[in-house]
């Protein structure tokens, strides 16, 4: 298995996803380079979330979903029976559109992933909490109230807590599905700064509705339309001289 930095971390080959008989994603083939930020853009309903959830098999939760094609993580096809999804989800973390901290303390939220792995070492847990919250740019705000409920945080803080919780299990990839769409502009900027920090350690795949955000935070951008991958290139290129007419129309706001 070749894991040289130049090799992409995830490769999709001819991936189609169906909800029952309805096809939501059509024969997508693309590579996700390691330690980069990749943005998925496109009008709503075009299959961005569906494609994203295929990467950590969260589509399994929906009855009647069928995925065809190869999805390779470090060369290993994860779209096949017998894959350990629990192990997979530890390697591919996810941050959701609506922040979803557990109704537990901030501390318990962060260590949840480790707790279920059976980690009990108190000093290790403390260390992970501090490190994760620091990486998520939340430590200074909450270090004095780690043992109060996470539900008392503001919306932006909650979302950063969810990112910290995700980081705490030390994933290789972080999937983000419109992580800022429920946040105010200031919180959005904090999350964007955070993504900028995290790109050095993780591969981040982010779905966004916001063109400026995609152009600000991502290295590569993929434009999806009605389940098809229309264009996928360096972000600069997509936003300055897209090759496809439809991409240009979408970016300039002519539809979608």
């Amino acid at each position: 298995m070749n894991t040289a930095p130049s090799q992409p971390i995830v490769r999709l080959h001819d991936v189609s996803i169906f909800y029952g008989r309805v096809q939501a994603v059509h024969e997508v083939t693309m590579d996700f380079p390691r330690q980069q930020v990749i943005a998925l853009i496109g009008p709503s309903g075009c299959g961005k979330s569906t494609l994203l959830r295929a990467l950590n098999r969260m589509n399994d939760l929906v009855d009647g979903v069928r995925t065809t094609g190869r999805i390779e993580l470090e060369g290993e096809n994860l779209n096949q029976p017998g894959v350990d999804v629990i192990q997979l989800r530890r390697r591919v973390g996810m941050v959701f559109q609506k922040s979803n901290p557990f109704p537990k303390t901030i501390y318990e939220n962060v260590i949840y992933g480790l707790r279920i792995q059976g980690v009990k070492d108190k000093s290790l847990l403390d260390e992970v909490v501090e490190k994760s919250l620091t990486s998520a740019a939340l430590w200074d705000e909450v270090k004095d109230r780690l043992h109060t409920s996470a539900l008392q945080l503001s919306g932006g803080q909650m979302q950063r807590l969810c990112i910290a919780r995700c980081i705490a299990v030390n994933p290789e990839i972080i999937l983000m599905d419109e992580p800022c769409s429920a946040l105010d502009p200031r919180s959005t900027i904090r999350i964007e700064d955070l993504i900028d920090e995290l790109r050095n350690t993780y591969t981040i795949i982010i779905v966004t509705h916001n063109m400026q955000q995609a152009s600000r935070v991502s290295d590569h951008t993929a434009f999806l339309y009605e389940g098809h991958l229309v264009e996928y290139d360096q972000t600069d290129k997509i936003f300055t001289k897209p090759a496809q007419k439809r991409t240009e129309d979408y970016i300039t706001g002519r539809f979608g």
């Binding site: 950590n56 969260m58 939760l61 009855d63 629990i86 192990q87 989800r89 530890r90 973390g93 996810m94 959701f96 609506k98 979803n100 901290p101 557990f102 109704p103 949840y112 992933g113 707790r115 279920i116 792995q117 109060t148 409920s149 539900l151 008392q152 969810c162 919780r165 995700c166 299990v169």
Partner: protein
């Protein structure tokens, strides 16, 4: 579109109706509960006589022996004229010619019985067999009734024709001029010295064993039996119900079998409780031979089956109300299905589940029909935990019915009946209160 005025009027009348119905409900509750409480409290707080304190000392080893001795001596002095009159008249009676003796004989026997009822056995008499004949009246309110029976004879006045009218005739008239005459005055004036009533708080009523078919003592075995049955039912039904609900909500796919299962659970919730009782007898005792005969175990299981549908339904609803995002978050962090349920979904659903448990607990404590065939007996001793597997028990709901339908002297022990009803209501309220506090604690912990 309604006009603004009409809308306001509708709003207001709707509010009015809502308030009215709540007020009606509160009033109904008050009318229902107030008499139960008032009379029920009289089992705990009443004027106890010296006889009550004798029972307390002799049967329950409570109270001050010396003090009681002094009290008994004083009472005996007050009673002396009564016993003297009885003895003197008896002597005269035996000496009377037959015709005259016949005139007094039945009435004298009635007076003597009433006095014995009031004050206990006559001096020098051999100790009677029944405990109720060994003591006088323990409660001043009951003593009042007995005093009336000494002083007055019931008679019927047929002057108006028909069935006649009940009248009370003073016995004094009959015995005027005899040696019995002073007895009536003595009883009328000095009864309180003879019995020495004192305001008593009998808190141990709740836990004391009963003696001689509830003539004496408390309702300890019934209370304990009810607690055993209720807790047994909860112990059986809550784990089963919650596990079933978790299966239905988190694991079962929507197919025909699951739909049939749901219908069965709904139907089970509507089955009359007496049917559960019969089922318990037929299945747990006759078929499965859990116990030789009725037992707390069989009763608990039957009650458990009865409340199972309620618990499943409440738990299902509580589990469904947990935001799907919790589960998504847990799974995305590498939790297995069971882990997500145990660490996130179940804790979040716990307040709702507890609500179901609270309702069921009250139901189990108060149900009568299911335990008639499976667990309840009218008289019994308090059981130890081990005995619950094989022995039947008295229990509040059944004994409330049993006391007023099958007791030899219902009127004598009304206070016990009301005491039982009151204690049952109190018990259920307390169980609920405890559960509500626990629930509030948990939901506060979840929210803040």
């Amino acid at each position: 579109m309604l006009r603004l005025g009409t809308r306001k009027l509708l709003d207001r009348s709707f509010t009015g109706m809502g308030v009215l119905s709540i007020v009606l409900l509160a009033a109904a509750l008050l009318i229902l509960l107030a008499p139960i409480c008032l009379r029920g409290i009289s089992a705990y707080v009443f004027q106890g006589t010296v006889e009550f304190r004798r029972v307390a000392l002799e049967k329950f080893q409570r109270g001050d022996r010396e003090e009681l001795k002094r009290e008994q001596a004083a009472a005996a002095r007050a009673r002396q004229p009564v016993f003297a009159a009885l003895a003197a008249f008896k002597k005269d009676l035996d000496a009377m010619p037959f015709a005259e003796r016949k005139k007094y004989k039945t009435d004298f026997a009635a007076v003597q019985d009433a006095v014995k009822d009031l004050l206990g056995p006559l001096p020098g008499e051999e100790a009677p067999l029944l405990m109720r004949s060994q003591y006088g009246q323990t409660r001043w309110d009951r003593a009042q009734v007995k005093i009336q029976q000494v002083l007055f004879a019931e008679d019927y006045d047929f002057s108006g024709g028909g069935l006649g009218r009940k009248v009370l005739k003073p016995r004094l008239e009959k015995f005027r001029g005899t040696k019995l005459e002073p007895l009536f005055a003595a009883i009328e004036k000095n009864a309180s010295e003879m019995l020495r009533p004192q305001w008593t708080f009998y808190g141990r009523f709740l836990t004391d064993a009963s003696h001689d078919a509830h003539f004496f003592g408390g309702i300890g075995p019934e209370v304990l039996g009810t607690l055993y049955l209720t807790l047994g039912a909860i112990l059986f039904a809550v784990p089963m119900g919650v596990i079933a609900a978790i299966y239905l909500v988190e694991y079962a796919r929507e197919n025909r079998l699951v739909r049939v299962l749901r219908v069965c659970i709904s139907t089970l919730a509507g089955v009359p409780s007496i049917v559960f009782g019969l089922f318990g007898l037929a299945f747990f005792i006759n078929a499965a031979h859990l116990s030789e005969n009725k037992s707390v175990l069989a009763g608990s299981l039957t009650l458990g089956l009865l409340i199972l549908p309620t618990i499943i339904r409440a738990s299902e609803e509580a589990l469904r109300a947990v935001p799907a995002t919790y589960k998504q978050a847990a799974l995305s962090l590498g939790a297995g299905q069971w882990h997500a349920v145990r660490s996130v979904i179940l804790p979040a659903a716990l307040p709702g589940i507890l609500t179901g448990v609270i309702i069921s607990m009250g139901r189990a404590a108060g149900e009568t029909a299911p335990i008639i065939f499976t667990a309840a007996v009218s008289v019994g001793k308090p059981l130890t935990l081990l005995q619950t597997f094989t022995q039947p028990t008295p229990a509040l709901p059944w004994n409330i019915y049993n006391l007023c339908s099958e007791h030899v002297a219902v009127d004598e022990i009304r206070h016990v009946q009301y005491g039982m009803v009151f204690s049952l209501v109190l018990l259920v309220l307390l169980l609920n209160l405890a559960a509500i506090i626990v629930r509030a604690r948990i939901s506060r912990k979840l929210r803040t």
